[in-house]
Subunit: 481 residues, 2 copies
């Protein structure tokens, strides 16, 4: 807990989103800048957000039989080069270790930007027969991608934290079946824990993961009208298994290459969540992930101090049995200062207890998201607080869903798309012929790109927004981070 | 689960410890070598060990008000140099990033060997008044120390996983009070979860952490008679706070430097555990940390197959409600092969169910540590299995404690110490005058070193084993990893 140094917000979300975002994450004490540009610090309340996401996601992975592992940080250069598209995609942003102690290394070592190459070299030794499959591995770790353009904490960080799932199957069908399971977990966690709605879809061939046959993503919309990619799932087919000779003997005794998938959710989703829910008073944290869910603030004067404090402690203890609760007993700050500080930090629910409340055997619940105040009986406060927290999570999701719906539009001509992106931003549903040329031209003329293509759509009726040929797909299009 | 490729043990622990250790960790499928020398792979059953240690330890940290954080992997060279002893201690084993993408970096970046320097630069901005203290931070992460001598998985790994606690206090007294709390947690976790006994004590000035005022450790004895350092705690005094200007205003309004501690437990303890408990049939995992605590093996022939399998499934399900259980239904392996495989992998308890057991409504429990077999009624199997697991954890600890006691001896002369270390190995209690010269000479003449000095001892009666001057302390002395 900080001393009165805490600075409040000055930037407005609607006026200067970038400055507002920076203020929110720094002044709420969720994150800080590290000494190396683009490498952020997760302060305790920021890291707690990630721990909540991790815990929820990991529990779901385990239900699918996924096992956690840990593979080395370093990848020898020769390994990174084994899959051609993969190295081409990642090498521009690899950080290289070239020296150790006072010695120059014989071979450069990449800091993992992702672990396919270091894992598959090893895993190929673990698999011999169809009985060894499926093999579902996952790791929670740090990776480094040396972005050269505008690093932004959480959203575009040179080092970030994530899960990387790497699964191997005996057949294409078994591998494909995993897509809905994993995307379902990511959707559930981002919706229920982070209150974030997004669009699930398939990436275009151009935008897919370096080395994948097909990539799928959840795309989010930020308050500035730009989109950003969230968790993703990649069908790698047999590309890596061929490059790394991951071979098994099938039931008929024949040698086969394994079918592989990879999938990830990263700390970027925390930045999206902070950007989407925050307001001009600071962070607004969804209750499922907030380090502190409820703060109890006693309102005391000299006469009633002990009495009020005693009750506040009792209330905090009762709430604390099933919720993450903080009692703010600091006596050098006024209640108003405390309210501001906890609002800035995004604590979902505040409980105020003053002398008048005490007489009436009640307390006041104040919601961070809406500012709504409501008196509740002390005897019922635990149930009431839980109900409010549940409501807050849902309300944040509904509000974000409303924003996403309002800012998702259809564009039926290039001109409409161009002017729409320029004037309003947001996501546009467009029809596309599926050709790379049109995708490139659309990008050049609008500055936006195809985010992904909704799943389960039939062939749409209509024509490509760019070339006028018959459309093959509906696509989500936006300017993107 | 692997196909019949599994290789059994061939090396004997008592004959060739090094080869035996390598076989145990590789063939039990606990670990594997990564493509970079000294960087190991934690396979699922190995990583599960660490997750158990992490979970238990983290829960204890939280009770002390410790908060988890995450600081960057990279430390700019100028920062690493800020505390003189610290950089001198670590720079010979730092891995350096010098290039990113196709660019040469302007300043070399160290991969953190430990995070003091990168953390304190940032944390100094978070503290202004005594009200901000204590600040108790921790991170669970990966660190790199580029050891040049004989990397060994877990025991001496170039990349390893650990916790690093970094705590800041307003007074020396408050900082000192934390020592027993943290060492107590490490002792509890290593004893109760890993069944590992060790000696707690203070390191000599020469052996303390680079940058600390005083270091404390738990030292373990390996089966080959060499000692190895486990978890540690460092009183850093004001050294780092002076180098990084971590200053606060005390209650009197005066500026003060913070008092700091750091503390860590690393994946090395897993190697110690595997080395201490394993036997010539493979790994022996303590039940509290084993990924699989109980394996159920049905013993079937063609007539009774379905009946026995049905009961085995029922038993596995009942046990699985409160234990980590695996049912081995593979039909291409004989029960004998399965027994060997699970013994190699160290699963603490095996449940065998065959047709005769079925008739008698019983099953056989077989302990991995002792090989003891015992029939129990199916109706009581859950309670019986839990009791056995509890017994196994205790028995492993008692056995290890016996080994440690048998191999801890007193040496009252240099000659006795020299010949003892040479012929028997183990740990020697010696008297020491406290002077660096004698410590150096002892090291030179014996090849061993002072591990640590037991806490809470008064000034001993007697004379330094080397120089014959009055002794200042009892010390634990051994050849060490």
């Amino acid at each position: 807990m900080s001393s009165p140094k805490t600075e409040g917000m000055t930037a407005k979300k609607s006026e200067n989103f970038d400055e507002w975002y920076t203020q929110v994450i720094l002044r709420s004490e969720i994150a800080d800048y590290g000494p190396v540009s683009g490498c952020m610090v997760f302060r305790p309340s920021g890291y707690a957000l990630w721990e909540s996401v991790q815990k929820a996601t990991d529990a779901e992975f385990r239900k699918l039989g996924v096992q956690n592992t840990y593979f080395p940080l370093f990848i020898p250069e020769r390994l990174l080069k084994k899959e051609a598209e993969h190295v081409e995609g990642f090498s521009p942003e690899v950080a290289w270790v070239t020296e150790a102690g006072n010695s120059k290394l014989e071979e450069r070592l990449a800091i993992r930007p992702t672990s396919e190459t270091v894992m598959y070299e090893v895993v190929s030794r673990w698999i011999r027969s169809w009985r060894d499959l499926p093999l579902k591995l996952n790791q929670w770790n740090n990776v480094v991608r040396w972005e050269f353009s505008h690093p932004t904490p959480f959203l575009r960080s040179r080092e970030f934290l994530w899960n990387e799932g790497h699964t191997l199957f005996a057949t294409k069908e078994a591998a494909d079946d995993e897509k809905d399971e994993i995307l379902g977990i990511y959707k559930m966690v981002t919706e229920e824990y982070l209150s974030l709605p997004g669009y699930v879809g398939r990436k275009t061939d151009q935008e897919k993961f370096a080395g994948a046959e097909a990539s799928y993503s959840i795309e989010y919309l930020l308050p500035d009208g730009k989109a950003i990619q969230g968790p993703d799932f990649h069908s790698d087919g047999q590309r890596f298994s061929k490059a790394f000779e991951i071979v098994f003997v099938d039931e008929k005794g024949e040698k086969q290459f394994a079918w592989q998938n990879t999938w990830a959710i990263s700390t970027r989703v925390l930045g999206v969540m902070l950007a989407v829910h925050g307001d001009d008073r600071g962070a607004v944290l969804p209750p499922m992930v907030a380090q502190t869910q409820v703060v109890v603030v006693p309102i005391v004067n000299d006469e009633n101090k002990e009495e009020v404090l005693a009750e506040a402690r009792k209330v905090a203890e009762r709430l604390g049995a099933s919720l993450r609760v903080r009692l703010d007993e600091r006596d050098h700050l006024t209640p108003g200062r405390k309210f501001n500080e906890w609002e800035l930090k995004g604590v979902p629910l505040r409980v105020e207890i003053g002398p008048r409340d005490l007489k009436a055997s009640q307390a006041v619940l104040v919601r961070r998201d809406s500012g709504t105040k409501r008196s509740v009986k002390l005897s019922e406060i635990v149930g009431e607080a839980k109900m409010e927290l549940d409501e807050i999570g849902k309300a944040l999701f509904q509000k974000a869903k409303g924003f996403l719906a309002e800012n998702t539009r259809e564009a039926s001509s290039l001109r409409e798309l161009e002017s729409g992106l320029k004037e309003k931003g947001g996501i546009y549903r467009i029809l596309w012929c599926g050709r790379k040329d049109c995708e490139d031209d659309l990008r050049k003329s609008t500055g936006g790109k195809i985010l992904n293509m909704p799943l389960g759509q039939g062939t749409p009726k209509g024509r490509c927004i760019f070339c006028g040929e018959p459309a093959k797909t509906v696509a989500n299009f936006a300017k993107s981070y």
